[in-house]
């Protein structure tokens, strides 16, 4: 399969320079390759999006999808995966989606280690609602709801996911498509909850290209199974101060997944009336 086969007729409405293009251009070849290699047939892929600029990606990829609502990609994706463990489910969510409106779901996905992938388009600003702060906006951020500057520091989503039991924690950057492709592929193939925070630049409301270009570096000679080291690396940049910004796979671990518990419940009952009668008899 050629990545071009994954295109649709929907006109792309992202702004010029939008970091979402990088995510789209990384995920299509990854899905095409996984299909080509027989690892993940494209008909078994389901994409789930929230609401915001990021979510339009669903319209631009010719694959099964569920365009849901703000903050709710993860519970929908979890339902799909539990319903049919054969499917490969990938969430695309914004930082407002995953870290504000739906933070509870993110924590529970990590805690359960449900076998889905969450790719967070973390542009650190609300774009579609024209420029308000998000949970990862730096302190002092001047937005339309905080004209005097944001008085509180951001959260570090990698640490939150890690503390909640996440078994695959990674960070990408929309200016670096090769690394994105590599991380996406590994995330999709990882069995368990895979979390990728993508520093995706909003060219219109919060253009951080220069800021990131000066600070990002790719983790090398890093053992993602070394939890202590992984946590150290996650702390290296707190989304607020000017520290170096590591990219890549911070942590990965094999662990039982939530779906495992349900594997036995996939058969259809043939003698329904008999079983109902039997159940009723215990109430006589």
């Amino acid at each position: 399969m050629n990545p071009k086969d994954l295109g649709t007729t929907a006109p792309n409405t992202w702004c010029p320079g939008c970091g979402n293009f990088a995510i789209l251009n990384a995920i299509k070849p990854v899905l095409a390759d996984l299909d080509e290699e027989g690892l993940v047939p494209i008909e078994k892929v389901v994409l789930v999006s929230g609401i915001g600029c990021h979510a339009k990606i669903i319209d631009y990829v010719n694959a099964n999808s569920f365009y849901t609502i703000h903050g709710r990609t993860i519970p929908v994706a979890t339902g799909i995966k539990l319903a049919n463990p054969d499917l490969t489910v990938i969430c695309f969510a914004g930082d407002g989606d995953a870290y504000a409106e739906g933070l509870d779901h993110l924590i529970f996905a990590a805690k359960r280690n449900v076998d889905i992938t969450a790719i967070i388009h973390d542009n650190r600003v609300y774009g579609l609602t024209t420029g308000q702060y998000t949970p990862t906006s730096p302190s002092g951020f001047v937005g339309r709801s905080t004209p005097e500057g944001l008085k509180v520091p951001p959260i570090n989503p990698l640490e939150i996911v890690s503390a909640s039991g996440g078994t695959f924690v990674a960070r990408g950057y929309s200016h670096g498509i090769e690394l994105l492709k590599e991380v996406f592929r590994e995330a999709i193939l990882h069995r368990g909850f895979s979390f990728v925070d993508v520093l995706q630049v909003c060219a219109t409301f919060f253009n951080l290209y220069d800021y990131y270009n000066e600070r990002v570096y790719t983790l090398e000679e890093h053992d993602p199974q070394d939890r202590a080291r992984a946590e150290e690396k996650m702390k290296e940049w707190d989304y607020d101060s000017d520290g170096p910004v590591p990219l890549g796979i911070f942590y990965r671990e094999e662990a039982p997944t939530f779906g495992d518990n349900f594997a036995k419940y996939n058969s259809k009952i043939t003698d329904m009336d008999g079983r109902i009668r039997k159940t009723l008899e215990s109430y006589i």
Binding site: Y67, G79, K264
Partner: protein, 557 residues
């Protein structure tokens, strides 16, 4: 006597519900129809719990205020319920606990008896049941059989306590109320929640998703226990928002899914309702009402969320709202609502309340037969698949991934037939027209189903209107007073024609509801019907037969 009412009371943790259930099973063996009302405050230990078991030779679905047997594990039970006693009533109590009993009552040292028999303290209620059986002339063999079936642990010790209670009373030397055998068929005595669960299973349920909330949790507990036997997936997620979204993930992947909650949890589900409307995700949402607003009275009853569930969620979309009134209807409509939700790809609400959900009833499977075969429309795998194909009846064929060649794109935005987002005026209108078309098709289908029921004297020109759990009390009182009783079971889309037929030649209507504003009366007004009088109860307790009789006498005087 044709019927008996037995009240058992004590503290939470004394096994009051279980004691009531065993007494119900005893009457069941003797040919009675049962109704068991359960009254408990929102706490885990202590407080005052009581249950009233009513047994009759006829079909019943409500309790009476007066009782024939008052069985008291503590003083509070006597103090609170003395007003329910008749001249003929028999009072039996634990004399280790009750220090100022009613005159003529029978005291037995139940605590001491349990201790002497080496049974756990909770076996006090077994002693009480034994004493009740003795007083009611129920043979030891019948009691022993029921106890053996119902008591999972320390059965020999429990039997010993029961025996002491039974013999202790028989030696009382007073003429007692004798429970004669009747001929009502021996039926399962089971709660509405359990029947909703079984009905959903009958409808082909694959998954149940719920966050615990009284009084809906019984469905969750029942299905979690039945998961192995019926091969279904039961999930308890982080909150109600996750519940309704996760359920839509299941539905997208082709699994018949239901979810359950009460009013407060349903508040959190409203965005999910709206998504299900737009994305056309089939769901059955069990909403078991309790007294609100807000936390309200968590373990008590109300019918105050009808208009909430009718309107929950932004925008206009087709939904089915069904309020079963007894366990047979609960079973039938739980199964049928699942099929209808899947055929029309809509959210369906199954509206119960604490009374129906947690009371136990004699369930007659014969009355709940003939569940219609309603099948979903599935894609045939030919042509290019379009999830939202616009058809004459508004129903787009369903496909579930993985289906080679078919790309299944569900969308909560306005969408093209392909499932790709659109904001084009014409396309947006077409999406809405499709929803309206589905509603029309659904209405037609409902014409063939028992969407409105009538009871009582069908020729009467005065009709009691009721919905949900009040069906039981209204049918009984309507019969007694020679009134017609009309119960719309489907509340949306409203079965106007059937309702009109049910009310033919009626001159006066009285709406009986467990809320303060008359929500059914308000609903039917939208369709050109008037309720001339309202009988409303909003103290969070259900109507007793006596309550309703009094109110009807007042209104019709």
């Amino acid at each position: 006597m044709d019927e008996f009412s037995v009240l058992v009371g004590g503290r939470a943790g004394d096994g009051i519900n279980e004691a009531g259930m065993i007494i119900a099973r005893l009457f069941n063996q003797l040919g009675y129809c049962l109704y068991q009302y359960l009254d408990y405050p929102s706490l885990i230990r202590g407080g005052h719990n009581f249950t009233i078991v009513r047994a009759s030779g006829e079909k019943i679905g409500a309790h009476r205020d007066e009782v024939d047997f008052l069985l008291a594990l503590n003083q509070e039970t006597i103090d609170r319920h003395e007003w329910r006693l008749k001249e003929t009533s028999v009072v039996i109590y634990d004399s280790d606990e009750v220090k100022s009993p009613v005159a003529g009552g029978f005291g037995l040292p139940l605590k001491t008896m349990a201790k002497e028999a080496g049974a756990p303290a909770i076996a006090r209620n077994t002693g009480l049941i034994g004493a009740f059986s003795g007083a009611a002339g129920i043979e030891w063999e019948v009691l022993e059989e029921v106890l053996r079936k119902e008591i999972p642990q320390s059965i020999d010790e429990n039997l010993e306590v029961a025996r002491r209670g039974h013999d202790g009373i028989e030696g009382g030397g007073r003429e007692m109320l004798k429970v004669e055998r009747r001929s009502y068929p021996c039926c399962p005595v089971i709660t509405g929640n359990e029947l909703i669960g079984l009905g959903l299973l009958r409808g082909g349920l694959d998954a149940y998703v719920a966050y615990p909330m009284t009084p809906s949790s019984g469905v969750l507990h029942f299905l979690a226990k039945a998961a192995d036997e019926f091969s279904i997936k039961v999930v308890h997620p982080e909150n109600e928002i996750a519940v309704i979204l996760m359920a839509q993930g299941f539905a997208y992947a082709g699994k018949r899914t239901a979810l359950g909650t009460s009013g407060g949890g349903f508040c959190l589900m409203t965005e999910g309702m709206s998504l299900a409307g737009m994305a056309e995700m089939p769901l059955v949402v069990v909403v078991s009402m309790r007294a609100g607003p807000s936390t309200g009275v968590p373990t008590y009853t109300a019918q105050s969320d009808l208009h909430f569930v009718m309107n929950a969620g932004q925008g206009e979309f087709t939904r089915l709202v069904i309020a079963p009134g007894d366990t047979e209807q609960a079973f039938y409509w739980s199964a049928t609502s699942l099929s209808l939700a899947w055929k029309y790809q809509i959210p369906a609400i199954l509206l119960s309340d604490k009374t129906l959900s947690e009371s136990a009833y004699s369930f007659n499977l014969v009355e709940a037969r003939d569940i219609p075969e309603i099948r979903p429309v599935l894609a045939d795998g030919e042509d290019d698949y379009r999830r939202y194909l616009r058809t004459d009846d508004g129903i787009s064929p369903l496909a579930f991934p993985p289906m080679p060649g078919a790309v299944v794109k569900a969308n909560g935005y306005a969408h093209l037939e392909s499932g790709i987002t659109t904001e084009d005026a014409g396309e947006v209108k077409a999406v809405q027209d499709k929803s309206l078309l589905k509603e029309k098709s659904l209405k037609k289908e409902l014409d063939g189903l028992p969407a409105v029921k009538t009871y009582g004297s069908k020729g009467s020109s005065t009709a009691l209107l009721c919905w949900g759990s009040n069906k039981g009390v209204c049918a009984e009182v309507g019969e007694k007073f020679g009134l017609r009783v009309v119960q719309p079971v489907v509340l949306n889309p409203f079965p106007t024609t059937k309702f009109e037929e049910a009310l033919r030649d009626v001159e006066r209507t009285i709406s009986v509801e467990t809320n303060s504003t008359g929500q059914l009366a308000r609903l039917i007004r939208c369709y050109g019907f008037e309720a001339d009088d309202l009988i409303l109860k909003y103290d969070s307790r259900p109507f007793s037969v006596d309550d309703l009789e009094k109110k009807i006498e007042e209104v019709t005087r």
